[in-house]
């Protein structure tokens, strides 16, 4: 691991200033992605500004939303009773991710910023990686691929955003508060990540020194139900091959309103607006569920190792829609 200086400020402004002043500095939170990448030599900051002692931990429950401190851990957010009642799919996504040990360390802010698990990105002996080094190529496209994206990608990069909780968070239109060198701003998660096919080396809209301080999560209205279905290679402690986050409100036997996002398929957590529009105001119909899934996956870019994800994502979404509408059928 490359040598680094270590600071541990206790105020947000101090932390932002410390990183902003040094182009080679970076924030350190739970470390579950970062320490791993530093050991691999993929990420080589000269200075780490440890933000884990900043007062950014805890959950404020308001009538319409949760204000979640960026350092709140995955386990802490999952344990919040309001999350279980009003954001069921957020709780399910949290508890289906990683292991308890990792969830005790990983913060919600860090989860949103996690780097791709692409094995070629994480192996510095692989030179072709447009995400690591612009214009160097993409080893994943020509070699063994499986845990890779099929939406929001092209031949330049098929890196997957592997977060589970980000999937329901983008469905419910959460936003982040960011403190940075130029002040504070709010960024909706729908505008936070940058698709790999829009620039493989840029992952999100944050600038150097920008720090997520809070995640605001709107509560689902009363009467909505939600759930997260995750399909993976083993029963637990594994990333998603595909996943579906669905929240909906039934109006008799019709789908009144609906929110859908897919995981395991996109270079960014994937909001499925086409499917929402096809299903809103319609009767429960498994054929239509599949058509909605096909519409989302129509723009898929696949390589031999990821071609299975198109059908799997359609079926994952269809099954979750059936589960969520079950009481009405």
């Amino acid at each position: 691991m490359r040598a680094f200086l270590y600071d541990r400020p206790t105020a947000v402004g101090e932390a932002v200033a410390a990183v902003a002043a040094d182009p080679q500095a970076a924030f350190l939170a739970g470390g579950t992605t970062q320490v791993d990448l530093m050991k691999d030599g993929v990420w080589t900051p000269d200075r780490l500004v440890d933000i884990t002692r900043l007062p950014l931990r805890g959950i404020l429950v308001e009538s319409q939303q949760l204000k979640v401190g960026a350092l709140t851990t995955m386990e802490q957010l999952a344990a919040e009773p309001v999350v279980e009642q009003r954001l069921t799919f957020v709780r399910e996504a949290l508890l289906l991710g990683a292991s308890v040990q990792l969830r005790n360390m990983a913060t919600i802010g860090g989860n949103l910023l996690q780097r791709t698990r692409c094995r070629y990105f994480r192996d510095p002996t692989v030179s072709a990686c447009n995400r690591r080094s612009p214009d160097s190529g993409c080893a994943a496209v020509d070699n063994v691929a499986r845990m890779h994206a099929v939406l929001g990608v092209d031949e330049r990069c098929i890196a997957l955003h592997a977060s589970d909780v980000a999937v329901p968070l983008i469905a419910v239109e959460a936003s982040v508060l960011v403190d940075g060198p130029s002040g504070q701003r709010r960024i909706p998660l729908t505008e936070f990540w940058v698709r790999a096919d829009e620039g493989p080396s840029i992952e999100n809209v944050l600038g150097h020194g920008d720090l997520i301080t809070e995640i605001d999560i709107p509560l689902l209205p009363q009467g909505w139900r939600s759930g997260y279905l995750k399909v993976r290679d083993r029963a637990s402690y594994e990333f998603a091959l595909t996943s579906a986050a669905v929240a909906l409100q039934m109006d008799g036997d019709m789908i009144g309103d609906i929110r859908i996002a897919l995981g395991g398929v996109g270079s960014v957590p994937w909001r499925a607006r086409e499917a929402e529009e096809m299903l809103r105001g319609t009767h429960v119909d498994p054929v239509r569920f599949e058509q909605a899934g096909r519409a989302v996956m129509a723009s898929a870019f696949t390589v031999p190792g990821t071609a299975f994800k198109v059908d799997l994502a359609v079926r994952t979404l269809s099954r979750q829609l059936l589960t969520m509408t079950e009481a009405s059928r």
Partner: protein
């Protein structure tokens, strides 16, 4: 270098890449001066000489390095030693009480819940937290909430049986 505590000496160039960590390990105060890169796992094994905590994958995948920080189970291979400054660390050496082994340790022995034993310290530390978290209600729950601890020997059935025994208070 800035830490939460300052030292009286003026920092030399080398000191910029070291950090003083004041922590409590298994109930006893500890002070380490370590390279900033030192993980908690390395500090426990190499600085504190507590080799019960095992280095398995060293990349957060196997759970062999599981310890408790402020009572919660974490992976010591992915945590910097500097991050436990001012916090309480418990390792497998601190699991047993003055009156003898922890009930989980007794149960693991009785159920033959290991073969090579390399993953066992992590399994024990993880299981001790699982019991406190109230997640041992069923075998399925035990398997799910122990899934961060791998056992290459495949002693899982016996590990689950040992934890189930302690959870039910049949020991």
């Amino acid at each position: 270098m800035k830490t939460t505590r300052t030292t009286a000496r003026a920092p030399s160039a080398q000191d910029q890449y070291t950090v003083d960590v004041f922590t409590v390990v298994n109930g006893a105060p500890a002070q380490w001066r370590v390279d900033t890169r030192t993980t908690l796992l390395e500090a426990l094994r190499d600085t504190a000489g507590l080799t019960g905590t095992k280095r398995g994958c060293d990349q957060g995948a196997c759970g062999a390095c599981t310890v408790h920080v402020d009572g919660q189970r974490v992976l010591s291979c992915l945590m910097l030693a500097a991050q436990v400054d001012g916090r309480q660390v418990t390792t497998v050496e601190g699991l047993a009480g003055e009156l003898g082994p922890h009930p989980l340790q007794e149960a693991f022995m009785r159920h033959d819940a290991f073969q090579c034993g390399f993953c066992t310290p992590g399994q024990l530390m993880s299981a001790a937290c699982l019991l406190r978290e109230g997640r041992a209600g069923s075998d399925a729950d035990i398997r799910e909430y122990m899934s961060g601890n791998l056992c290459r020997c495949g002693a899982y059935d016996n590990i689950v049986a040992a934890i189930r025994d302690v959870a039910k208070g049949t020991d």
